[in-house]
């Protein structure tokens, strides 16, 4: 575990990094992500993006809720990775999170997988 950063109800953990020789970078987001903690979420994700991973996997299995502010943070990561030749993948959204991904069609833009292993296999 590289770090485990908790802001109010949101916990962001980086459990694998390409820059440390792992096959992908894995970020776990848990709790509730909304406008009150989006700045911190964006900052932590930007740190990972700046290391230019080819595959960034975000595990959402512990995330109970995500609002449109947090969604924009994910879309921003997707755009940044796209520009630098990387890929973003999402894993295991709970129903409330799956709903906002579907409503906004973000799930057609960013691939969503049932497990980290599937996401890693592409």
């Amino acid at each position: 575990m590289w770090y485990n950063k908790c802001v109010d109800l949101l916990t962001v953990s980086v459990t694998a990094r390409e820059s440390a020789g792992e096959p992908y970078t894995l970020v776990e987001i848990a709790g509730e992500a909304d406008v009150t903690n989006t700045d911190e979420l964006r900052r932590l994700l930007d740190e990972e993006v700046s290391q230019q991973p080819r595959t960034l996997i975000i595990d959402l299995s512990g995330l109970r809720f995500m609002d449109s502010s947090a969604l924009h943070a994910l879309l921003r990561v997707n755009r940044a990775l796209d520009r630098q030749g990387g890929v973003l993948a999402l894993v295991s959204p709970q129903p409330a999170v799956a709903k906002i991904l579907r409503l906004t069609t973000a799930d057609r833009l960013i691939p969503v997988f049932g497990s980290v292993a599937e996401a890693a296999a592409g």
């Binding site: 509730e32 909304d34 009150t36 809720f65 609002d67 449109s68 502010s69 709903k99 906002i100 906004t104």
Partner: protein, 167 residues
Amino acid sequence: MAKPRGANLRDSKRPPVSRFPGPDGDAPVPSLPSPDPDDPMSYSYTTDLAAIRAVVHRYAVQAGLTESRAIDLTLAVSEVAANTIKHAKSPGSLKIWYDAKEIVCQIRDEGVITDPMAGRREPSLDAQGGHGLWIVNQVCDQVEMQSDENGTTIRLHMNLPRRGAGQ
């Protein structure tokens, strides 16, 4: 968020929105009817969105919404309350009431929405914001919005399943 209450809009000279969407279209009405029932549940909030979501979800399930629709209503209220945090300079208030037919969440704050189409257009995924009120309009059965220089009131309605309908 979609500029519903962005500073540029707040400062614009356009008249504020007064809208009451319904079967006849978006005919403006002078005011919303006073909140119904007997003693609606009332909450004031500043940045405690998680607490607001917990309350809404609890009442939504208690009123008889399915889990999936309770999640929808929770998301909608959270998005509206997030607008308060982003654009209004004062706390917001939430009232919840329900009867046999519907559950209603009314959110009021001192922000001003001047775009009559706020939340009615689907924003691009490349947009920097704008999904909040659009999502609200997608998941709720009816959205009423009234805004003037004194603030904004948004009412979200969700129809309840008919009892005994095998729900």
